[in-house]
């Protein structure tokens, strides 16, 4: 039987999510036995226009070239999976979407006319149909392996979208909200990381994006009681997953209702 063909494409990103594959250790060699890796520039093979069964996309759309390129990736792939915050919500660089970013470009680059960049950084879903999304900044090897295994078995990958609190409780970490009055984003953040921050006694900063039911109104009220300022609260939503719909909505609500 022919092995399924896999491509890994990079758009605007830090390259960190591709490391979920490159950091697999010996399992990387197993993966190379299970699938035919036809395009994965970081690992070697380069054939960006190849027809594949599975295309993994890292990074957001932030340049005119990427607008065109993502369409071709879609045409060439049976199944398109996004990995990480950039591909799934636009990433941290989507912070430019709320600003006049052409001004930003000229603040950084003395000759801004040489820089080809859109005014926005957007999720892959906003441009083409996406078959499955893996959330996280960054995604980890466990998530990528589970997703690929499911696809190889011919079943849909499981969408892990419950709140981080469940995982945190299973690990028996002391709750940082209860014990330290820290404004932890865990209740509004989807699971997947392994509750790393609370394990170190640190408040979650929502790098995995919104969980399935986001009740920011109640949580923000509670944190207001801890003395967290309006600006601080807004920054916590307007962070790595700033372009996720549930967080954007939360920012608008905090801006309107915080002082009441």
């Amino acid at each position: 039987m022919m092995k399924p063909r896999l491509a890994v494409h990079k758009f605007t990103s830090c390259d960190g999510c591709q490391l979920a594959i490159l950091n697999m250790g010996e399992e990387l060699l197993t993966l190379a036995d299970l699938v035919d890796i036809v395009h994965f520039a970081e690992a070697g093979p380069v054939e960006p226009e190849a027809q594949v069964d599975i295309a993994i996309v890292e990074g957001s759309v932030s340049t005119p070239d990427e607008l065109e390129r993502i369409k071709r990736v879609r045409e060439n792939s049976n199944c398109l999976i996004t990995i990480g915050a950039c591909a799934t919500t636009g990433g941290i660089q989507a912070l430019r979407n709320h600003q006049d970013s052409s001004q930003w470009v000229s603040d950084i680059y003395p000759q801004a006319q040489f820089i080809q960049s859109l005014n926005t950084s957007t999720a892959i879903r906003e441009h083409v149909r996406v078959d499955f999304e893996l959330w996280g900044c960054p995604v980890n090897s466990r998530q990528v392996k589970a997703m690929l295994r499911s696809l190889l078995f011919g079943v849909s990958p499981i969408d892990e979208k419950s709140s981080l609190c469940l995982e945190c409780k299973r690990q028996q970490n002391p709750c940082v909200v209860v014990t330290k009055q820290e404004p932890c984003m865990g209740p509004l953040t989807r699971t997947g990381c392994g509750a790393l921050c609370p394990h170190f006694g640190k408040a979650c900063f929502a790098c995995y994006g919104p969980s399935e039911t986001v009740n920011s109104h109640s949580l923000v009220k509670r944190y207001q009681g801890f003395g967290v300022s309006k600006e601080d609260m807004i920054r916590r939503f307007n962070h790595i997953q700033n372009n996720a719909a549930a967080y954007k909505e939360s920012v608008i609500n905090i801006a309107r209702n915080f002082d009441e």
Binding site: L28, G44, E66, F114, N140, L196, C207, I240
Partner: protein, 431 residues
């Protein structure tokens, strides 16, 4: 007239990633132009750091680079602690070195095995190479995994780790967690030594170009988080004088700035570090190098392969020394008293000196940020090296050979992982 015009394209060059191309213009026997173009989509990090609280900076800057987030965190926390006059404990200082050792080991092992070795041994990728050299590739992946696990001890994960804070660490691993990892370090040290000895048997091309190497230098240790900026041609300045000597220029063919020191191209990274700090290298590293009778030369970028393996062995040995009598402390971070002003620091990222500068207001918010990464510092050097190497090889050579040589030269600098793309699309126009 025998005029040959060459355009070599590197469509997936990274960090400085995204799109890059190399343009060569050859007229007769002369290489008229060698431009390495870099089209990393700009992410405008310096701008969205503005208005952020200093406590958010380590988690934000980690996201500039997935391969060396620890370096970004370390330059940031040292800059801010310098401004706030924070005195960190010996434990924090030592464990930050362990954390950084993890990143050097992981990044160098990844570069050697997944990016560089396929060039030297004639394969397209590491999985392909693993079919003929299974033990060497698996050994490399084990070393890489240990580096990642050292980062995880203090950061929870090796990409965008979460434990580093201004003032110290959010938490500390238990003695038991440290012991589990500690017991693997002996094997890692042995395997790193084998790796270094093996690479030293390779016959590396000769090259002797005249240009300086730059790195931090420290009085009594191999430089990571502290020290002065030194160069192989006599520079010796404090890191906050960086802007008096180093200038970044924008060139039309790149979204990465090119950095020059007193108008000269220079080299940062493991090779420059090894040469400038050889007296502080681990003894075993020196013994192996002496036995092979190789004299490291900043002017030969192929030696960077050896320098990376040397630093893996050094870092694994140092991590073992620092974790030997590990005790989990009562506090893992110092109290911070904020202050307005300018915060500057440089640390040694796997790819070289990473310089940060922040302006902080009285509320602890960032007003302005400037970050000079290693790859922008090496870019002018890469172009000069390409020019030299291709001319030495002979510009009359077949395109395929010129292309391979150009790719290998670029990879010697490990510009950033996707930079080291394994193909160049060569176009030749003959006139």
């Amino acid at each position: 007239m025998n005029k040959r015009e060459l355009e070599i394209k590197v469509p997936v060059l990274a960090r400085v990633e995204g799109e890059g191309s190399l343009e060569l213009l050859i007229e007769g026997e002369e290489l008229r132009e060698a431009k390495l173009s870099i089209f990393e989509p700009p992410r405008l990090f310096e701008k969205f750091l503005e208005g952020r609280h200093y406590t958010e900076v380590p988690d934000l800057v980690a996201r500039i680079c997935g391969i060396c987030p620890v370096a970004y965190q370390m330059s940031a926390v040292h800059a801010l602690e310098g401004l706030f006059d924070t005195r960190i404990s010996e434990w924090i200082r030592a464990m930050r070195r362990v954390y950084y050792c993890g990143e050097w080991i992981e990044s160098h092992a990844l570069h050697i095995h997944l990016l560089a070795l396929p060039d030297f041994l004639g394969y397209q990728s590491a999985p392909e190479m693993a079919k003929d050299h299974p033990l060497a590739v698996k050994r490399g992946l084990r070393i890489q995994a240990l580096g990642n696990d050292l980062i995880k001890l203090f950061g929870g994960r090796s990409v965008n780790p979460v434990g580093a804070e201004v003032g110290g660490f959010s938490g500390a691993p238990t003695k038991k967690e440290v012991n589990t990892l500690y017991s693997r370090l002996d094997q890692c040290i042995d395997e790193s030594a084998e790796l270094l000895e093996w690479l030293l048997t390779f016959s590396l091309p000769e090259s002797n170009q005249d240009f300086p190497g730059v790195s931090l230098r420290h009085e009594y240790e191999y430089p990571m988080n502290e020290g002065r900026l030194a160069s192989s041609d006599g520079l010796n300045i404090p890191v906050d004088a960086f802007e008096n000597h180093f200038v970044e220029r924008q060139v039309p063919h790149s979204t990465a700035f090119q950095c020059y020191r007193d108008d000269k191209a220079y080299l940062v990274g493991p090779l420059a570090r090894c040469v400038l700090n050889s007296q502080h290298l681990n003894k075993q590293v020196k013994t192996i190098l002496d036995a092979a009778k190789l004299k490291l030369n900043v002017g030969n970028s192929y030696h960077s392969l050896i320098a990376r393996a040397m630093e893996i062995l050094h870092a694994a040995s140092e991590a073992k020394d620092l974790l030997r009598n590990y005790v989990k402390p009562n506090t893992t971070r110092e109290k911070i008293i904020t202050k307005a002003g300018v915060a500057i620091a440089a640390t040694e990222a796997p790819r070289g000196t990473l310089w940060h500068r922040y302006e902080i207001d009285a509320d602890g918010l960032v007003c302005k940020a400037r970050i000079v990464p290693p790859t922008s510092q090496n870019q002018a050097r890469i172009e000069a090296d390409l020019r030299h190497a291709l001319t030495t090889l002979g510009l009359y050579r077949p395109e395929e050979e010129l292309r391979f040589q150009a790719e290998q030269i670029i990879r010697n600098y490990d510009p950033c992982i996707s930079c080291a793309t394994h193909f160049l699309d060569l176009r030749v126009n003959r006139q």
